[in-house]
Symmetry: C2
Subunit: 140 residues, 2 copies
């Protein structure tokens, strides 16, 4: 997991070639959606990894009904979430995180830990960039 050191070595390319270049059929883009990760995460914390629509909406702060619906449709299509419809009155629908959905969450943890550890440095960098950059062009 830790291949970050070694700077000047030209043979470092060997191990790096195993990395996938592709945006992986849009998976990363999907995860980058505004609500996708949080919705998966909320489901993973729920009892039996299941929540009904209204609960999910309440737990996911700030999400609109429309965006929750869209997010769930995409997750359902990719097989990360299973939809259970109960034809009652009023209707009840539960969304369940599949094994696939739980799996990607687990795989995401390494990245999230890295982000948690390095976010301060990133934000420093942003601060510095915004401060020094507001006066000059790119030719210096």
């Amino acid at each position: 997991m830790d291949t970050s050191s070694q700077s000047g070595s030209d043979k470092q390319t060997e191990s790096a070639r195993s990395f996938l270049p592709q945006p992986s059929n849009g998976i990363c883009a999907r995860l980058g959606d505004k609500w996708t990760i949080e919705v998966i995460w909320r489901l993973s914390l729920a009892e039996k990894r299941r929540l009904r629509f209204s609960d999910l909406k309440r737990k996911t702060d700030g999400i609109t009904q429309r965006m929750l619906t869209l997010t769930l449709r995409n997750l359902e299509r990719d097989g990360f979430v299973k939809r259970h419809y109960f034809p009652e009155v009023p209707p009840r629908v539960e969304y369940e995180l599949t094994g696939l959905g739980a799996g990607i969450l687990a795989s995401l943890q390494g990245l999230n830990l890295w982000i948690r550890d390095n976010l301060p440095r990133i934000e420093e960098s942003r601060q510095a960039y915004d401060d020094t950059g507001e006066q000059g062009n790119r030719f210096r």
Copy 2:
């Protein structure tokens, strides 16, 4: 960090709580950009993790000059890439992947391996969803 009061406590939730809910200050969204990951990856494969603008553009198939510039600006701002400007004629600019940038690439590998292994299942799911869904509404 924790906003919602939990209804049920399973054993499985215990380990899941360590996961970060937040889109992590836009990091995941940035990675989901159309070109970000590939640009980082191209730099990581280069000698001394450095490439000049035109080389990077040539290696990154399909990217426009504008998008490469924007992608690099964002990466530079976050501290993932360092820009080296040489005031020659014609001008030469090299971009170097920083330790930070290489680090996130390494952290991404777990996720990418998972995607590689599970993409077939995801695409099956998409196929099934698109096939069965085109006739009925959501109430079934």
